[in-house]
Amino acid sequence: MTARILIIEDEAIVAMELRFVLEDLGHEVIGMASDARAAQKAVDAGDVDLALVDIHLSDGPTGIELGRHLAQDQGVTVVYMTANPGMLGEGVAGTIGVLSKPTDERAVQTAVDYALRCRSGQPTEYAPPELRLFG
């Protein structure tokens, strides 16, 4: 299953590495945004299936609200990726969960796979251990 994925991450090197991993898996990375405004623009410009959202962006800790908005109002499947998962507390309604950084290819692959299965309503096997689910 391939998907259109938006990477919302302000560390260029982390974003680039993630892009390569996702492209190796056959996904289409439609953009890399480093702040909430750029992310919103990218979502408005084209269909986004999945957004990988960091919490701390170049315009501050705007990731939490951005992820909530994309998931609840714009039909985007959201997985947070952050070095500070504690900031999310008990979670954000409508989003899938959070993946702790740093992580590895396998964890990214299984987490993305899990999120896309959820999106398409397919039966999900057990969630990858690195992905903390909300709700």
Binding site: E11, I13, F20, A83, G86, P129
Partner: protein, 528 residues
């Protein structure tokens, strides 16, 4: 029925009653002298006495015709009257014919007493203190004339009235004396209080802190000058409940609840809240109060202070924020380093396994950092608390089986651990788990590891026990870097010993650490 058989007093009672009048050995008084003289005239007798009987003597409060102040108990007719008399009046017609008195030296010798007539002097309670009596040197009839009997009765009553009067006057004088003493003492106490009150005010008014005081029920009745200066309120305006309105509305309920609970329990009060400054802004203040108790432990007052900690709190919050920010940056650097390694390895496919091993180690370090870095309520990891077991659970999460159950079973004593120990613990168990997944118990589907952590006296022992893995024929011929990393972590960093046993059934690793190794900073603090 005789006087003796129905008397209800003892000699001790009698002496105590006599002592209570405090009359023995006092000076002569005209009132008593007059009674004795009148009695002598009525009886036409040469001797008349107001005779009070002490334990060993008769003492004359008044006398006519003897020139004495008293005599021994053995020579006293009145003592016999008290001891043996059968009514209030005793009459002896001729003492020489009475065996009780015939040998009395005042009878057999000078002045040669013959006649005695005496009436007991009784207290209102009926206790005889002595007698009013007359003597004659010539024998007389043993029957008194009605006038004589009546005179004895009336004058004995007069003596007792005088005695009562004396006693009342004396008691009154005592009362006046003691009232004066109490008043003097009271005045001294009031003066001392005023002085201490003045000292208290001088001290509290000059203190940099706000000082206040309440009644036991929490009614504020005193604030020092600093309070009025800070709040800009009129003196007295915040008495009673008025103070609560000075708090920020968001803090009022919290402060009031705590204060009420302290009033109920007597626990010291300590709370931080925002207090309205005269400028209209709110400043953070530390409020503290303690109860003052009396000797019986009852709370008689509360004394409290408010300290302006606004600046301090800003600094503290700023420091927290900085430390949060720093921590977040560090955590981010782990992610950047990890990404950098992955990107670099893309150019060299043969370096992929190497890159993966390094990234996994970096990830273990990052996880350790996440656990022990300074946290706010918001950033605190929500899974479990910050203990060794919670940390290991998180570290081992990738080694779960297909059903999500951990294949590394954690048991035994939990412990807290700090940032100094975190990196070593993370690297040790990362290497052991990675190795088990590649070559050991976790390389086979049915294999598992039991990790037991035990606090044994001043040691903390971690036992890594691999089960149901591939059979082991002996120690490996070559030890990798991972193995060295584990050894360095335990023996170099944590100051413990690491022992490996290559049992046929699986690897057994025992890390034996000083109990303080996991939390050196806490141990150091405790030692101070």
């Amino acid at each position: 029925m005789t006087e003796r058989t129905r008397r209800s007093w003892t000699e001790a009672d009698r002496l105590a009653a006599l002592a209570a009048y405090d009359i023995l050995d006092t000076a002569r008084e005209p009132a008593f002298d007059g009674i004795a003289r009148l009695l002598a005239q009525i009886f036409d007798a040469p001797i008349a006495l107001v005779n009070l009987i002490d334990s060993d003597r008769g003492w004359f409060k008044a006398e006519v015709g003897t020139g004495m102040t008293g005599g021994t108990i053995e020579t006293s007719f009145c003592a016999v009257n008290i001891r043996e008399g059968e009514g209030d009046v005793m009459v002896v017609a001729d003492a020489t014919l009475d065996p009780r008195f015939a040998d009395n030296p005042f009878v057999s010798g000078e002045p040669g007493l013959r006649f005695y007539a005496g009436r007991l002097l009784r207290t209102p309670e009926g206790i005889p203190l002595g007698a009013l009596c007359v003597h004659d040197l010539k024998p007389r009839s043993d029957t008194l004339t009605p006038i004589q009997a009546s005179a004895l009765e009336v004058l004995a009553g007069q003596v007792m009235d005088q005695m009562e009067l004396r006693r009342s006057l004396r008691a009154g004088a005592l009362e006046i004396l003691s009232r004066q003493a109490v008043e003097t003492e009271l005045a001294a106490t009031i003066e001392a209080l005023a002085e201490s009150e003045q000292k208290f005010r001088v001290i509290t008014e000059s203190m940099p802190q706000m000082v206040w005081s309440t009644l036991p029920d929490g009614f504020h009745d005193y604030f020092n000058a600093r309070w009025y200066e800070f709040t800009g309120m009129e003196e007295g305006a915040t008495d009673g409940d008025g103070w609560a309105g000075m708090f920020h509305t968001d803090d009022q309920d919290r402060a009031r609840q705590l204060w009420e609970s302290c009033l109920a329990t007597g626990e010291p009060y300590e709370v931080e809240y925002r207090l309205r400054h005269a400028s209209g802004t709110y400043r953070w203040v530390l409020g503290r109060a303690r109860p003052i108790r009396d000797a019986s432990g009852r709370i008689i007052r509360w004394f409290g202070t408010c300290t302006d900690i606004d600046e301090l709190k800003r600094l503290r919050d700023g420091k927290d924020l900085l430390s949060q920010e720093l921590s977040h940056r560090i955590k981010n650097i782990f992610a950047v380093v990890s990404a950098l390694i992955a990107l670099s390895a893309r150019e060299f496919p043969e370096a992929q396994p190497f890159a993966k091993a390094v990234r996994d180690r970096v990830a273990a370090l990052a996880r350790a950092h996440e656990f022990v870095r300074p946290h706010t309520e918001a950033s605190r990891p929500s899974v479990g608390s910050m203990t060794l077991h919670a940390f290991l659970d998180a570290l081992f999460r990738p080694y779960a089986d297909d059903a999500g159950r951990s294949r590394i079973i954690l048991q035994g004593d939990d412990a807290v651990f700090d940032d100094q120990a975190a990196t070593s613990v993370a690297l040790l168990f990362h290497e052991l788990a990675t190795n088990a997944a590649k070559y050991g118990a976790l390389s086979l589907p049915g294999g598992r590891v039991e990790l037991t952590t035990q606090s044994v006296g001043d040691r903390f022992v971690l036992t890594w026990d691999e089960r149901d893995g591939p059979r082991i024929d002996g120690p490996p011929t070559r030890t990798g870097f991972g193995s060295s990393l584990a050894t360095v972590s335990v023996e170099g960093q944590l100051g413990g010993r690491l022992e490996r046993s290559w049992r046929p059934g699986g690897l057994l690793v025992v890390a034996d650490l000083p109990a303080t190794a996991l939390s050196r900073r806490r141990a150091a603090l405790k030692a101070v």
